[in-house]
């Protein structure tokens, strides 16, 4: 039971947060929705009729759907067995493998995709090796089209299954399985009837998340699509071609399918909570003792991890390739550290890095402050309309990056104060704003979780000991939620550093971020420079994680009683 004890400013904060959300999150999307029904100043379904009348648009919708469906299946086929392998069995190196298996999370979407290009693309290292091996004139396979997209999706999105299912396995109450066995169920029956239903929430959650991410996926179709149409790409192309009406319709259709999935996800989370009533026993990890099986499990682990690390290693290698020298060879023939030296010394090379750092820092600071206030209102104050606040905050999570880019670009393209529109298109500020909106859900969720974890009695204790509201916020509330808030903000920061999908829709020459620069270098066949940027980005992200983990675990120790 929370206790609203005359805390000042609540109403003012509440109003401020609500206005910001309505203006920055709801309004641009509502604007697009309304505009998609307006033609020549009147209400019309013409744009939708045009969309569904066009074979290529229908094809794009259908491609998006079936590619997402198969992405779910393939990601599940990789992620679920991996989770079982690493969390149910013990063999040498298990812990290292378990940690490495979530590595693709660290790879920003575009960077992941271009590392595949270097590895599996037409002139990629692996493709050329195979071609040479078999003495073929043409590459053995062409890494293009739906197959390539699915490959990239499976590689990057199995992590959802892996993380959800391993968390589910850790939570699993093993006494239930024991109860089933003692009631006469065979071990396979116990698995099917008891273990699997308990994992169902994890599986459903991961499936929906994968589906949503695939629908929104832009980088893979953009680089590897080879002309295949998908909705997220159509939006970008329509905008480039100046067909704003069609872009809006595509946006509305893509956004509504994502929101539909999000609603399903929330509904599912709400109805089926398998919470153990008591503290159950943890599943004992089975020690693989047979030497051959140990070898097999260990071998499977090594192969998997090598496969997962290959793209990173490739990028690292190519980042030392001298620009313009790698043409027909399997591996780049000449190496240099020039690529890195230029990044740090040449101001035109350094600029994108500084841009990204600056914009990510700006957006993340705003996220941090916003999340503290919003989460406090939602969890502690139990303000009226909490559900509305919560869904508005969650909305950007469901919106694909292209959708967000387009809606912001369409809304903030003129100064019209009475309409709540200001001119941001073409200025520096639109991209940081987009980063802020995109990562709002992550940070608010993290802070919300910290608020939910800490005992409301702590704040009451501070008050009854004579501390004013401000004093108790400063000395108790902030120190308690700081680890969660920092963790969430850092995640937002590193994601913003490598952001590509929204950036490509709305960047300007004043704020060209790293990802756009990588693409530009790639276009000029400066593979070394593109890879060097990518490695630098991975390094920044990795370093941020390592530092934050260390720092957060230090203060985290004090916060866990």
């Amino acid at each position: 039971m929370s206790s609203p004890v005359r805390r000042p400013f609540t109403t003012a904060f509440h109003a401020l947060i609500l206005v910001l959300l309505l203006w920055l999150v709801l309004y641009p999307n509502a604007y697009i929705l309304v505009q998609s029904f307006i033609g020549a100043g009147a209400l019309t379904f013409a744009h939708y009729i045009e969309f569904f009348g066009s074979a290529s648009e229908r094809e794009a919708l259908w491609n998006s759907l079936w590619i997402s469906g198969w992405s779910v299946v393939l990601s599940g086929l990789i992620g679920v067995p991996l989770a079982f392998l690493f969390y149910r069995f013990d063999f040498p190196g298990r812990k290292v493998f378990a940690a490495l298996a979530s590595l693709p999370v660290l790879l920003p979407p575009l960077v992941g995709v271009i590392s595949f290009l270097f590895l599996y693309g037409e002139s990629g290292i692996l493709s050329r090796s195979l071609q040479r091996w078999f003495g073929l004139r043409e590459p053995l396979f062409s890494f293009r089209g739906a197959g390539a997209i699915l490959f990239v999706h499976a590689y990057t999105m199995y992590v959802y299954f892996y993380m959800f299912v391993s968390a589910g396995l850790k939570r699993l109450d093993y006494t239930l399985v024991e109860a089933a066995r003692s009631l006469g169920a065979s071990s396979s029956r116990a698995f099917l009837r008891v273990t699997l239903p308990q994992l169902a929430p994890s599986l459903v959650g991961a499936s929906l998340l994968t589906f949503m991410t695939s629908m929104a996926s832009f980088s893979a179709p953009y680089i590897f699509g080879g002309g295949i149409r998908v909705l997220s790409l159509q939006i970008y192309n329509s905008k480039l071609n100046g067909d704003l009406e069609m872009a809006m319709v595509e946006t509305v259709i893509l956004a509504s399918s994502s929101i539909l999935v999000l609603l399903l996800l929330q509904r599912y989370e709400g109805t089926s909570k398998y919470r153990s009533t008591t503290k159950g026993a943890r599943q004992p990890v089975t020690l693989v003792s047979h030497p051959l099986k140990r070898l097999l499990a260990g071998g499977a682990g090594i192969v998997t991890v090598a496969f997962l690390l290959l793209p990173h290693l490739t990028l690292f290698l190519i980042s030392f390739a001298k620009d313009g020298t790698w043409t027909m060879e399997i591996l780049p023939p000449r190496y240099t550290i020039e690529n890195y030296a230029r990044l740090l010394s040449d101001s035109s090379f350094l600029e994108p890095i500084l841009n990204s750092l600056q914009m990510a820092a700006l957006a993340t600071s705003a996220n941090f402050v916003f999340a503290l206030v919003a989460a406090y209102l939602i969890v502690r104050q139990q303000v009226r309309g909490r559900a509305l606040l919560g869904s508005l905050i969650l909305l950007p999570w469901a919106l694909p990056g292209t959708v967000l880019g387009l809606s912001l670009a369409s809304t903030f393209n003129q100064n019209s104060l009475w309409q709540g529109r200001i001119l941001l298109v073409g200025t520096y500020w639109l991209l940081p704003l987009a980063y802020f909106i995109r990562h709002m859900p992550v940070v608010v969720r993290a802070v919300q979780a910290s608020f939910e974890q800490f005992d409301p009695a702590l704040e009451e204790a501070a008050r009854s000991l004579g501390g004013t509201w401000i004093y108790s916020v400063r000395r108790v509330v902030l120190p308690m939620v700081l680890p969660g808030a920092l963790a969430g903000s850092l995640l937002a920061f590193v994601t913003a550093l490598g952001e590509f999908v929204t950036s490509i829709v709305i960047y300007t020459i004043h704020n060209r971020p790293i990802s756009i620069e990588i693409l530009a270098q790639l276009r000029q066949f400066n593979f070394g420079s593109a890879a060097a940027y990518s490695v630098f980005l991975i390094f920044l992200i990795g370093a941020t994680f390592v530092v934050s983990q260390k720092y957060l675990s230090d203060i985290g120790d004090g916060a866990v009683s």
């Binding site: 008050r463 009854s464 004579g466 308690m480 916060a559």
Partner: protein, 362 residues
């Protein structure tokens, strides 16, 4: 004048009344327990006293002053939470000194007062430890030190022993009583455990359904329960609902379900009951007041068959049935009576003193 006074305190959560016009007057230095089953409103009451809730109606008075409009930080009410609510990011010293720092007490004074408080709770050398390193009992004492170091006008303890294991609870109960008595602070405990309430407090307010059912010493509540709820909540009780067999005179004539009559003397305060034919009367008879042998002043109640038996150390409890009612008998000492040991299935005469019957309600 009472030191802490709750006047007509009412707290509504949505459509539910957690507290329904509670009145309570507590004297200075008194130790009072709020006792009752879960959901009776006892925690709501102390949250209202501390100022964490705004009452729907009614007022809270401390030392002759209406504190209802004051925020918690201006009430000088120390509270020991059920979870202790020690600040996990602060060490023992900073936890205890929190209130003094908030009040901008000079650093020197904070040090000496915190150390005195830690000595009081018998933790003189633990100032620099992290709170999560402490045992449950130590954490509780830090929470008490933190609450009393600000010299509160009222000390509130929410289920102070519920987080300790059973063996520790017994020992801590005694120490807690001694500690709080030595502080001479007006104290309100919340507990659902009657033994704890008996051991810790001078007076007990028994709450149910948001109302105070009875406020008095433990002995009052046991010997003179105000109603059936109190009788059943405190100790074991046989409560019989019997119809009147006849009305009038000095005698309370009731009938057992079998039809046999039970004649009791009318209680002195019988004026408060409106005795009419056709109505029934609720009677309380404590199990330990029933004997298997005749003694001076006792009458034969009826003979009853022994149904079951439970050994409880110094006591044995028997369940018996006779004249259409079931009842509990607490039998002390060695089980044999003058005509041999008792056994399930026997039929025995039961003996009571007429004045041990109490009329609860009509």
């Amino acid at each position: 004048m009472p030191y802490l006074e709750l006047r007509n305190l009412t707290q509504q959560f949505g459509s539910q009344k957690a507290l329904d016009g509670l009145n309570l007057s507590i004297e200075k230095g008194e130790l009072v327990s709020l006792l009752g089953p879960s959901g009776c409103g006892k925690t709501t009451t102390i949250r209202l006293i501390a100022g964490f809730l705004e009452p729907t109606a009614g007022t809270v008075w401390i030392d002759g002053r209406d504190v209802t409009p004051l925020p918690p930080e201006r009430r000088r009410v120390g509270i020991v939470f059920q979870s202790y609510a020690l600040f996990p990011h602060l060490n023992v010293f900073d936890n205890v000194g929190f209130g003094l720092r908030a009040a901008k007490v000079p650093r020197r004074q904070i040090e000496s007062r915190v150390h005195r408080a830690l000595e009081l709770v018998n933790l003189p050398n633990e100032a620099n430890r992290a709170v999560f390193e402490l045992s449950g009992g130590e954490q509780q004492r830090v929470a008490i030190a933190r609450a009393v170091v600000i010299e509160p006008q009222i000390l509130l303890l929410d289920e102070p022993l519920s987080n300790l294991d059973a063996s520790l609870r017994q020992r801590t109960r005694q120490q807690l009583r001694e500690l709080i008595t030595s502080l001479q602070t007006t104290t309100v405990f919340v507990t659902h455990d009657q033994e704890e309430a008996f051991a810790l407090s001078d007076r007990i307010a028994l709450l149910s359904k948001g109302r105070c059912q009875q406020f008095g010493t433990a002995r009052d509540l046991y010997d003179h329960p105000a109603n059936e709820f109190v009788a059943r909540f405190i100790g074991r009780a046989n409560v019989f609902t019997l119809p009147f067999a006849a009305v009038g005179g000095d005698c309370l004539c009731l009938a057992w379900p079998s039809g046999r009559e039970l004649r009791l003397r009318k209680p002195a305060d019988s004026a408060r009951f409106h005795i009419q034919a056709g109505q029934s009367c609720k009677l309380l008879l404590r199990p330990e007041k029933i004997g298997f042998e005749e003694r001076a002043g006792t009458i034969r109640l009826f003979s009853a068959r022994l149904l079951s038996y439970r050994f409880a150390g110094a006591w044995s409890e028997w369940e018996a049935e006779g004249e259409g009612v079931r009842l509990w008998i607490a039998h002390s000492g060695a089980s044999p009576t003058s005509d041999g040991p008792l056994a399930v299935g026997m039929t025995k005469d039961l003996w009571v003193r007429v004045e041990d019957f109490q009329v609860l309600d009509v």
